[in-house]
């Protein structure tokens, strides 16, 4: 069930009432409720893959305990490898099997040879990319001795399947979520009300901005060859916004829901469109994923290549970002997207500025023109690379570029749904303005400092009215569900 669906509203309302009014006194019962609710939530999507989730949880539960108990390094490595092979193996099978087969077939065809290999009709289990990374980080943290294994199976299973985040993250680390599951939660009114505000903000971004953008971008990309380049440029701009609004909207809702239950989970976005460089962007975009890759891929690789100086670092970055690209899906477009973004780090590595924050990072556009130019330039680079991300395949992506850099960029284009397009543009302006003004907060609607109740009510009801007035005809699935 989507967070925006009536079924989820009913589910969560009942869950909330049981959680805080019936089971409040018992930590065990609360956790059991979380586990039951999480499995119900997951099974609602597709009950068949619940077995995979449960099986994954059982295996990693025992592997974690085994890792901590054993004193033999060999045996510990063996257990770790079982966990890694199972997790990554499932991921590779479900996500990449057909991609590998098709790539082999294509490679053979280059030499005019035919590879007689069959693809399979594989359905991607929802959330597998996210919960697999949770189990891997759990095992690696135990192996490194950074955390102790969880002996309470309810806590561990709840950690893996925690319903606000199981489908599309954020990817919580064990030391973030598990301690919170192990201790009694106390209802904190200010945390809960801020959680509600964050949900409202997420709803606004998802329904008004992302879904309305989708209604415009989908036909534009589908018919890009018959439309002027200006139309494609507009679609690319909107798609960049759509991707952010969709994913950050989901993350805001997930974080808000968790806060309503007394949990503080990992922040996933830190206003990435205000980044002044690509490295800065990746410190602000899908933070839980990039930090995961930094800790478990980039850091080990940069240590391994340490003898090669800056070139070792470049190699580590390229591998890291190519892997991030691959994580997104089984398509060469994602691989190229990731690799390109890795390439954008090279000038910073060579100049030694990789970890330096740009001056004027928090300056207003008026005070620092350089900061504004950096932001605009970074945004344009993002737009151009998200085009590859959007394409079905590399030849379509090349087709987009070919069209974009043609003379029809100066032609005007027709907007069919004028009212919705205008409303979307206004909503985008509202979003960017609010996030700029609130850039030092966790989310744009963290307006505790606004004391006057009428003003706050006006903001809340204004957003609600905007959502009710301009939600699109068709509510679109969250984009990151397919990753």
């Amino acid at each position: 069930m989507l967070f925006t669906s009536p079924a989820f509203v009913i589910f969560f309302t009942l869950f909330f009432l049981l959680y805080w009014y019936v089971f409040r006194g018992s930590l065990r019962l609360q956790n059991l409720l979380i586990l039951t609710g999480s499995y119900l939530f997951y099974a609602w999507w597709d009950w068949r893959f619940l077995f995979l989730l449960v099986g994954n949880s059982i295996l990693n539960y025992f592997l974690g305990i085994g890792l901590a108990k054993s004193n033999s390094p060999k045996y510990r490595n063996f257990l770790l490898w079982i966990g890694l092979i199972q997790g990554l193996g499932s991921l590779v099978f479900f996500k990449y099997f057909n991609f590998f087969i098709n790539s082999i077939i294509s490679a053979f065809s280059v030499f005019n040879m035919k590879a007689d290999i069959q693809t399979l009709n594989i359905i991607l289990p929802l959330g597998i990319s996210f919960y697999t990374f949770k189990t891997i980080s759990y095992l690696l943290e135990i192996k490194k001795g950074k955390i102790k294994p969880v002996t309470d199976w309810v806590v561990f299973f709840s950690y893996i399947s925690f319903f606000p985040t199981v489908i599309s993250g954020p990817i919580d680390r064990p030391k973030t979520l598990i301690p919170q599951l192990e201790k009694q939660r106390v209802f904190d009114y200010s945390q809960a009300s801020d959680g509600m505000r964050q949900i409202l903000w997420g709803l606004f971004k998802k329904i008004v901005i992302a879904d309305n953008c989708a209604a415009i971008t989908a036909p534009a990309f589908a018919h890009y060859d018959t439309l002027p380049a200006s139309s494609l440029l507009f679609a690319v701009f909107l798609f960049t916004i759509q991707l952010y609004a969709d994913f950050s909207g989901y993350s805001d809702m997930a974080i808000g829901l968790a806060r309503l239950l007394g949990f503080k989970i990992t922040r996933n976005f830190n206003f990435p469109f205000f980044a002044q460089s690509i490295p800065d962007f990746w410190r602000r975009w899908h933070i839980s994923l990039t930090s995961w890759f930094t800790d478990y891929v980039f850091n080990p690789l940069s240590w391994y290549f340490r003898d090669y100086g800056k070139f070792g670092l470049i190699l580590a970055i390229l591998i890291n970002f190519t892997a991030i690209g691959i994580w997104h899906g089984a398509n060469w477009t994602f691989i190229v997207f990731g690799f390109l973004h890795g390439c954008f780090f090279i000038p910073f590595i060579l100049s030694g500025n990789l970890n330096k924050k740009k001056k004027g990072a928090h300056a207003t556009a008026g005070k620092s023109l350089a900061a504004f130019i950096n932001m605009a330039g970074t945004f344009i680079l993002l737009m151009l690379t998200f085009m590859i991300f959007r394409a079905d395949n590399l030849s379509t992506a090349l087709g987009y570029y070919h069209k974009l850099f043609s003379s029809s960029i100066f032609y005007s284009f027709t907007i069919t749904e004028k009212a919705n397009t205008i409303a979307t543009m206004i909503a985008i302006a509202v979003m960017l303005s609010a996030e700029w003004l609130q850039r030092d907060k966790q989310h744009a609607l963290q307006i505790d400092a606004v004391k006057g109740l009428p003003v706050r009510a006006l903001i809340y009801f204004g957003l609600i009215f905007f959502i009710l007035s301009f939600s699109p005809v068709k509510v679109v699935d969250f984009i990151y569900f397919k990753f």
């Binding site: 009536p6 009801f461 009710l468 301009f470 699109p472």
Partner: protein, 294 residues
């Protein structure tokens, strides 16, 4: 919880106000159907012994006053713009269970055999009876549409005044008749026509099983529509096909295609009669129905 309710209640109140102001929830993609179902709910229509169904031809060409003056039984016209026979089959399966009619009049012309089924009617059929009968406001949430869509629909809908029995009439001065509409000639048959014949057969079979007398009424067609031998043959084949289907299930087939009685001056376009023509047609129908309806 109280504060949450404080935020949620104004939203419900707002939608209730919208409902009272006539901004009907969007349930199907047929504005008239949605309005009509609200009218049915508002007038507490429960028991319909003589049920009329069809597309715009059924809506405009059955003069309600003529029918109710001649038949002393509860009557309602559920016709709606654009209904195809496939849609009528879908809707009647629900209406027969709900309203227990003894007679179903299906006013039809070739325009009901040309298009695909409109699956949005399922949004209404599958909705909970409580929502349909008691709280149609809940459709705002079960079939959510944005306020902008509600406003757009209300202010862009062809103005229509339904009478107390769900019918309506057309009165357009000759000089105001749209020339393009006048000269229109629907392509018939289309790729959807066979499915509509199948639906007619299924509909007739359903009514027979439910012991409901089915009366199929072929309404007049403008003379200039069938002014070639080919078009004459096409519509004759259609008439024969419908007759055989209806009568195979013990239904009654009535055909009022008569270009002498229903001259072009009584029409507004290829199939729709003006109010005057509708009265003439209904009187003829009533005369025939009196032999069937006891």
């Amino acid at each position: 919880m109280f504060k949450t309710l404080l935020f949620v209640m104004p939203v419900f109140v707002f939608f209730e106000v919208l409902f009272r102001l006539g901004f009907a929830p969007i349930v199907t993609n047929s504005t008239l159907f949605d309005i009509k179902m609200l009218a049915v709910q508002k007038h507490h229509i429960k028991n319909v012994k003589l049920l009329a169904m069809g597309s715009s031809v059924g809506l405009y060409e059955l003069d309600s006053k003529t029918i109710v003056q001649n038949f002393n039984m509860p009557y309602y016209n559920f016709s709606s713009w654009g209904l195809q026979i496939t849609d009528t089959r879908l809707l009647l399966s629900s209406f027969v269970k709900k309203y227990h009619p003894k007679y179903v009049l299906l006013c039809s012309s070739i325009g009901e055999f040309v298009g695909p089924q409109n699956d949005t009617y399922l949004n209404f059929i599958n909705a909970n009876d409580f929502i349909k009968d008691k709280l149609p406001e809940l459709f705002y949430f079960t079939n959510y549409s944005s306020i902008h869509q509600l406003v757009y629909r209300k202010f862009n809908t062809y103005p229509l005044a339904l009478d107390n029995w769900g019918g309506a009439s057309l009165s357009v001065k000759q000089k105001n008749i749209n020339r393009e509409k006048w000269n229109e000639h629907d392509i018939f048959p289309t790729k959807y026509t066979p499915a509509n014949y199948i639906a007619l057969d299924s509909l007739a079979s359903l009514l027979k099983r439910e012991h409901v007398k089915f009366v199929f009424i072929q309404v007049p067609i403008k003379k200039s529509y069938s002014n070639t031998d080919q078009s004459k043959q096409i519509i004759q084949v259609h008439f024969d096909k419908c007759k055989s289907i209806v009568e195979a299930h013990d239904g009654t087939y009535l055909n009022y295609y008569n270009t002498t009685v229903f001259t072009d001056s009584l029409f507004i376009d290829q199939y729709h009669l003006q109010a005057e023509g509708a009265v003439i047609l209904t009187k003829e129908i009533v005369a025939d129905l009196e032999k069937i309806i006891k």
